[in-house]
């Protein structure tokens, strides 16, 4: 039956919830395969060491142990996939699943054991005897570039992996002539993503046919399958990769990991299923980290604060090896160091650097939290420099509103934007004047607790991505299109297959909302399948806020194909010309005669029986579509953070956080809000709490959740949300992405607020994360005391 209810735009509760709420959801570690063995990886305790010998004999003699191997025992078809050689001369030494001669970071896999139980495998791993010769290590990107620094990869003769540069306009002239130049150095700390589900893998072989099924806690079953084929030589046609329910990723499961290749290779070698689940402590070493940049950001402006130019030089710590998109991760922000502002000249330079640390790769926002921090943080410094309010400095530099593609000085063609509008809404939601008045009162009283207000009127790019551009301009080796299939079953039930791989984002719900509306079928009649290369053979998975921005238009196009075929059958059955058929509210009817109808359900039945189809028409009501966007999408918005800083202890409390985001057309406002709230929490965490720390010998000292401060419910405030909807011009639905906006937008707002709270004391900057100690030291330094 046709329905007139619209699902798109409504806060429809999620289809996927029930299985999670009842404990019926199956994550990888929940799965058991008959006869399976457990794998355990022996990891280097040293950040840098020559491997002089691996003796597995004691391990092999232990009860339940089936096999044990060193890195020398494997011949791989190829190294682990590195898919983003950003420059032609990039240094990219091969990363093998196990180190052969040298361990290059603490946690680098050196040997592997396989046993009948989890416990036996762990015990046996401890019995593997390895002789190491310790080598000097380097962990910081600036130190790694100093002459005489320890070399991570001797054969390269340098720790520099690449230099990538973008120049627009006459940057040197603009900076030489500008009356005002403001410079900042920002250390964007290394972060540990901390998806709540640790990684886990099972590989089940069928030795007789050479087929394999791999279950992995991954965001990217499709890319993983290709990566596995390249590393192991198992052909893609023989490998099914399934991402069952996945407990968060945030980029950390956007990877082709050593353990995945090892599990597949061992399953092939031993002819038995192999399982591996990381412990959290193991994951802190073995699952990639994020961020880790040193930024030198400069902005050139007129005396009254009109921006003329931007110049940024970035050292990007890659860790010990280049992982799947690591070189390109900082470059994702390369075009955004101008934010949503105008200017005449623009330059960014990125130097990728090897260090003896866990590889760094995408973490929620990937390059854009870094660029947003650089520009939004320097904007407040510019405001102070020219004596203007941070709101005023932004208003006078915003690009004016536009609803057609518009170039930016950063080299992008922006899809749509209305930057002043989101700022106005955020100011109204906050009650800006009142908070400023309260701040002034506290200052005058010399209150111990001072108030600060921080702004971030961010711009980002996401919806990865237009294949031609990301390939030809950005030198990414993969594609960015997305695929969808819609299948209408005889009774009218609908199955949608998406090539994206949602893992918490709510795609089962949002896709069903769109399809229910477009085909005019009940929401509950639409099932969404994904995350299995046999079910969804084509796709580029979920990351970079692409599920909605790229996945959804593919679904839309498949739905349009269904409607076009259905219209032909309706015309045939109603004995009129196709052009006389109208499709409204799920019903096909003859124009002017709305009482006689056909529905998708009735026409699906017609195509199933095939009794009365138009001459030459194929049976079945099923359609597939591929969507390759021609541009990225560009969410934007205004975040305002209010903090109270205890000037005696340095403690920072976020008391308000207003987020007004414009992520284009909204499918499900409740899900969008959820993405923003979660993103803001991670951004606040990054600004105030989280930091992965290595000691000078390369030991990760934040080696468990007790040392690395993932914030809890008392540390994260409620976010005040507002929303604008400026449709994207990149796709016909007008949708953008929302998965990363909160994490991109919020850190500069938080730090700007901390600085603002203390600016009257002479504080001009505070390092991230703004821990009580760092804030206290900044206050003491400003007072001229011992810091």
């Amino acid at each position: 039956m046709a329905t007139t209810e619209r699902y798109v735009g409504s806060p429809v509760p999620r289809k996927e919830d029930a299985e999670f709420l009842t404990g019926q959801a199956r994550y990888t570690d929940d799965l058991v395969v008959p006869g399976m063995l457990w794998m355990s990886v022996v990891r280097s305790p040293y950040a840098h060491a020559r491997i002089d010998g691996v003796d597995v004999s004691k391990a092999l003699a232990m009860p339940g142990v089936v096999a044990a191997f060193s890195g020398q025992d494997f011949e791989w078809a190829g190294p682990l996939l590195m898919a983003w050689p950003v420059t032609a001369d990039i240094n990219n030494p091969p990363h093998w699943p196990l180190a052969k001669d040298e361990a290059r970071y603490q946690g680098d896999g050196v040997a592997v054991v396989v046993a009948e139980s989890r416990g036996a495998a762990m015990d046996a791993a401890e019995a593997v005897s390895i002789r190491y010769e310790m080598l000097p290590a380097v962990t910081e990107s600036d130190e790694a570039l100093v002459d005489g620094a320890p070399l991570v990869h001797d054969e390269l003769g340098t720790n520099r992996s690449y230099t990538w540069k973008l120049t627009n306009g006459d940057v040197d002239r603009v900076f030489a002539e500008a009356p005002v130049v403001v410079k900042q150095r920002n250390v964007i700390r290394r972060l540990i993503p901390n998806a709540m589900e640790p990684r886990s893998i099972i590989v089940q072989p069928t030795p007789a046919t050479g087929q394999f099924t791999m279950w992995s806690a991954t965001q990217i079953p499709h890319i993983l399958r290709t990566g596995m084929a390249l590393a192991t030589g198992v052909p893609e046609s023989k490998l099914r990769v399934i991402a069952p329910r996945v407990g968060g990723g945030f980029g950390s499961k956007l990877q082709v990991y050593p353990e995945e290749a090892l599990a597949l290779e061992l399953a092939r070698r031993l002819g038995r299923p192999i399982k591996w689940t990381e412990s959290r402590a193991e994951g802190y070493l073995a699952t990639h980290h994020g961020r880790d940049q040193i930024q030198d950001m400069e902005i050139a402006a007129s005396r009254d604060g009109k921006i003329l130019g931007y110049r940024a030089r970035i050292l990007a710590n890659m860790g010990a090896y280049l992982r799947i998109i690591a070189p390109g991760t900082p470059v994702l922000g390369a075009f955004l160091f101008c934010g949503c502002y105008g200017g005449e000249a623009y330059e960014t330079e990125f130097i990728g650097v090897f260090t003896n640390t866990t590889p760094v790769d995408a973490y929620r926002g990937a390059g854009r939290p870094e660029s947003a921090y650089a520009i939004e943080h320097v904007m407040d410094a510019l405001a102070r420099e020219v004596g203007k309010d941070p709101v005023e400095i932004r208003r006078m530099n915003f690009l004016p509103p536009f609803d057609e593609p518009t170039p930016s000085i950063g080299g992008l063609t922006l899809d749509s934007g209305n930057y002043p509008a989101t700022l106005d809404t955020a100011l109204a939601l906050l009650g800006y004047e009142e908070v400023r008045a309260e701040q002034q009162a506290r200052r005058e009283q010399g209150d111990r607790r001072q108030i600060g207000i921080g702004f971030s009127t961010y711009l980002e790019n996401c919806g990865w991505g237009p294949s031609r551009i990301i390939g030809n301009v950005l030198k990414y080796a993969g594609g960015g299109w997305e695929a969808a299939t819609i299948r209408c079953h005889p009774t009218g039930k609908v199955v949608v297959v998406t090539g994206t791989t949602p893992h918490g984002q709510g795609g089962q719900t949002t896709i069903a909302q769109l399809v229910a509306d477009e085909l005019g079928v009940p929401f509950d009649d639409v099932e969404v399948l994904f995350g299995d290369t046999d079910i969804a053979p084509a796709g580029w998975d979920t990351y970079g806020s692409r599920g909605n921005a790229v996945g959804m238009p593919a679904v839309h196009r498949a739905a349009q194909k269904i409607i076009e075929k259905a219209r032909k059958i309706a015309a045939h059955e109603l004995e009129v010309a196709e052009s006389d058929i109208v499709f409204e509210d799920g019903a096909f009817s003859v124009r002017g005669a709305p009482d006689v109808t056909r529905t998708i359900a009735s026409l699906a039945f017609s195509t199933w029986t095939g009794h009365n189809l138009p001459d030459g028409m194929e049976p079945g009501l099923e359609a597939s579509a591929f969507f390759d966007p021609q541009n990225l999408v560009f969410p934007f918005g205004a975040h305002i953070c209010v903090v109270e800083v205890d000037t005696e202890t340095g403690e920072v409390e976020v008391t308000r956080h207003v987020a007004v985001d414009d992520v284009g057309t909204i499918i499900n406002p409740q899900i969008v809000d959820g993405q923003v709230m979660g993103g803001v929490a991670q951004g606040i965490a990054e600004a105030l709490y989280e930091e992965a720390i290595y000691d000078e010998r390369g030991n990760l000292t934040t080696s468990s959740m007790t040392q690395y401060l993932v914030p809890g419910a008392t540390e994260v405030p409620s976010v005040t949300l507002g929303r604008h909807e400026t449709p994207s011009t990149t796709n016909e639905l007008g949708v953008k992405g929302v998965g990363e906006t909160g994490t991109i937008a919020s850190p500069p707002a938080v730090i700007n607020a901390v600085v603002d709270a203390l600016s009257h004391l002479g504080v001009t900057d505070v390092e991230r994360p703004a821990t009580p100690e760092r804030v206290w030291r900044a206050i003491q330094a400003a007072k001229g005391g011992a810091a």
């Binding site: 407990g247 968060g248 918490g504 959740m705 419910a713």
Partner: protein
């Protein structure tokens, strides 16, 4: 192999098993009894994903040996719905979008169930404090807190 015999009532059903003495309660539930709704998120008793009810008190099941549950009563997320009806907390998490990836959700619900039995009409600050031992990486906690307050309102309304 040395084994320990454990007899425990899980979600109202008497169960027994012989396990290695070092077996943690969470692995007894997950791997011996096949109740995989209780998740493991860390190895330092920090994240709370493995929270269950032991004799009606919330505990992190990774902090106890299976043997310590001998003779006691365990409720896991699988035991929260009854007669096909979701528990008010489960309904509230659904209504308020209190979960995204779902991994922390069973632990959150069990911690909240224990908390609400002690404090049926909490403030937002009290809910946040009660969740200090449970980490979520997706939601920013806002909708979890909202869900628990919503459930509290409905549960106390129902019992009034």
């Amino acid at each position: 192999m040395v084994v320990t015999h454990v007899a425990v009532t899980v979600n109202g059903v008497a169960r027994e098993a012989d396990v290695e003495p070092r077996t943690l309660l969470v692995y007894l539930l997950r791997e011996t009894f096949g109740l995989t709704g209780t998740n493991v998120g860390c190895d330092t008793s920090t994240c709370g994903a493995c929270t269950i009810l032991l004799d009606d008190e919330s505990v992190k099941s990774c902090t106890l040996l299976a043997a310590q549950a001998d003779g006691r009563e365990v409720i896991t997320i699988e035991g929260m719905a009854s007669d096909g009806e979701m528990h008010p907390l489960q309904e509230a998490f659904h209504r308020n979008h209190g979960l995204q990836c779902g991994y922390c959700t069973p632990g959150m619900i069990m911690a909240a169930a224990s908390f609400l039995s002690e404090n049926p009409n909490p403030t937002e600050a009290e809910v946040r404090e009660a969740l200090e031992g449970n980490l979520c990486r997706c939601t920013g906690y806002q909708n979890i807190v909202k869900s628990i307050l919503d459930a509290a309102g409905r549960m106390s309304g129902a019992s009034a």
